[in-house]
């Protein structure tokens, strides 16, 4: 092959490799995007409402206005991601046409299809998808996702679901590693995932794509905990711009993500951050309002 090839798996998964060890921040204006980049975000997620507001205001949540996405792309030099509804392949086509760097097929928006996710292989723009367990992650990878984020429960500031999902994914990977080859057929059946991907995870001991954590991360210690639990990086949604001092909190979460194994650094950056976002305990959320249960 002598000609240049765009949109290959290696190129799509490659960008996620470059984001590792970093923090991806939700932003709703170009001004917030600037603050995020200046604070050390590795990428931004451009959207009209952060999950906490989607939750508070209710209604159908959709892809953002192209004007907003383009204004944010124009403002920053780091990668810009944007969300499409689960199964809404036309929103994804639009986001690709807008030249976003990553498309998040996200449960934070209202699903557009309760049966099918987007066939992601047909796009040059890479996709990141949410997962609550290994089977779900592998189904998304089978559909062409180039990056996975554990879902957590977005817009709550309650990290417990993020903890549950990253622990679930890593423990299921560890179980596969200890299985014999014949047991993997049954494991694939139980995970409802393709055998080839299950075999690959069993052999390599990790997902074939980068794994970030999302959903409820609000403090430097939350971010560091996700990293210690095996995440390659973190998404912070409402946690930054719904807090008292976004600039300082954003920079603190970036530092805690790099020095996730150094409690002295985490202590230092956690000082005087002001108010964290007002949280909602996931246990208090009635089941229909739990976003992590969207997608399958």
């Amino acid at each position: 092959m002598s000609t240049a090839q765009t949109g290959s798996s290696r190129v799509k998964r490659g960008l996620a490799e470059m984001l590792k060890g970093g923090v991806i921040m939700d932003v709703v204006t170009p001004e917030q995007a600037r603050i995020a980049e200046d604070a050390g975000a590795v990428a931004v997620m451009a959207l009209e409402r952060v999950p906490a507001d989607i939750r508070a205001q209710g209604g159908v949540a959709r892809m953002s206005d192209p004007d907003l996405i383009e204004a944010i792309i124009a403002e920053v030099s780091i990668p810009v991601m944007a969300k499409a509804r689960i199964g809404h392949f036309v929103e994804a086509q639009v986001l690709q046409a807008l030249d976003v760097d990553y498309i998040d097929e996200s449960e934070v928006l209202s699903p557009a299809d309760y049966v099918n996710h987007i066939d992601k292989w047909g796009f040059d723009t890479p996709f990141v998808c949410g997962a609550t367990n290994l089977g779900e992650a592998l189904r998304r990878i089978n559909e062409g996702a180039a990056m996975i984020r554990s879902k957590g429960e977005a817009g709550t500031g309650d990290v417990s679901e993020a903890t549950k999902h990253i622990r679930k994914i890593t423990s299921e990977i560890n179980q596969l590693k200890s299985m014999t080859r014949d047991e993997l057929y049954v494991a694939a059946k139980e995970l409802q995932a393709p055998y080839e991907l299950v075999l690959e995870v069993a052999e390599t001991g990790k997902l074939p794509v980068v794994l970030f954590t999302a959903g409820g991360v609000a403090t430097p210690a939350d971010a560091a905990m996700m990293m210690q639990l095996g995440a390659d990086g973190v998404f912070v949604g409402s946690g930054i711009f719904k807090s008292g001092n976004p600039e300082q909190r954003a920079a603190a979460i970036v530092k805690a993500t790099t020095f996730y194994d150094d409690p002295k650094v985490i202590a230092e950056v956690s000082r005087g951050l002001g108010e964290a976002m007002v949280g909602i305990n996931v246990g208090d959320l009635p089941a229909p309002h739990r976003l992590a249960e969207r997608g399958w």
Binding site: M1, S2, T3, A4, Q5, T6, G7, S8, R10, V11, K12, G14, L15, E17, M18, L19, K20, G21, G22, E37, D38, G40, A41, V42, A43, I73, V76, S77, I78, P79, Q96, D99, V100, D101, Y102, D124, T125, P126, G230, V254, K255, T258, F259, D261, D262
Partner: protein, 217 residues
């Protein structure tokens, strides 16, 4: 000392040179794995004290704005600049090339670089991720076959100063790999591709410098 999940760093009884990988952000584990496979003793570098005893350093792919901020915030940037000026061999891929270039274009306000390479480098020179690509790239210094190069929102070398030498160019003439003495920079990512020749080439420089500094009896 807490470990950085460094089970992937290769043999700890390696006999090769001690090479650091700047581990503030990005795909530093991929570099560490390649260097380990090639026999280097690998040290992940996040703090000034991690620079002690290094015979070479790799700056990985990632986000240059983030590496710049963290390297200054945690006091790595200044001692590293001094080490580069004193001749520490450094290999930078993508963001790493940006970090060691003397002059940058399309930076964010306040972005700084370590410098060392007499080149002008433009960030994100190909555009958005949709323009990221992989291609076969002839690299005369490495011989045949061409290197299969993966460009991820990569930079290009816009102009090569007197002290630096191009190592590879795209068909349109844009320079994407350079060297200057013991400094090597590539716009692309051999660490995620499986071709170790650039790392071997760099380790050759590290070994040569180490043996010149302290000739073995």
């Amino acid at each position: 000392m807490v470990t950085l999940r460094d089970e992937s760093l290769g043999a700890t009884d390696a006999t090769g040179p001690t090479v650091g990988v700047l581990a503030l952000q990005g795909d530093f584990r991929e570099h560490a794995r390649v260097l380990g496979e090639l026999g280097a003793k690998v040290v992940l570098v996040r703090r000034p004290e991690d620079l002690e005893g290094l015979e070479g350093l790799v700056i990985p792919g990632g986000e240059s704005t983030v590496m710049d901020k963290l390297s200054r915030a945690f006091g790595v940037a200044e001692p590293l600049k001094r080490r580069i000026a004193e001749g520490l061999p450094v290999y930078g891929t993508c963001a790493g090339l940006i970090m060691i270039a003397d002059t940058l274009l399309d930076t964010i306000e306040g972005q700084q670089n370590l410098g060392g390479l007499d080149v002008v480098v433009r960030r994100n020179a190909f555009g958005s991720q949709n323009q990221s690509f992989e291609t076969d790239l002839p690299v005369p210094a490495l011989g045949e076959p061409p290197v299969h190069a993966v460009f991820i929102r990569g930079p290009v070398v816009e102009s090569v100063g007197e002290k630096a030498t191009p190592l590879a160019s795209l068909p349109d003439g844009r320079v994407v790999a350079v060297e200057q003495g013991d400094l090597v920079g590539t716009s692309f990512h051999p660490e995620i591709q499986g071709d170790h020749r650039f790392h071997e080439y760099f380790l050759g420089k590290v070994r040569a410098r180490a043996s010149a500094a302290s000739p073995t009896p």
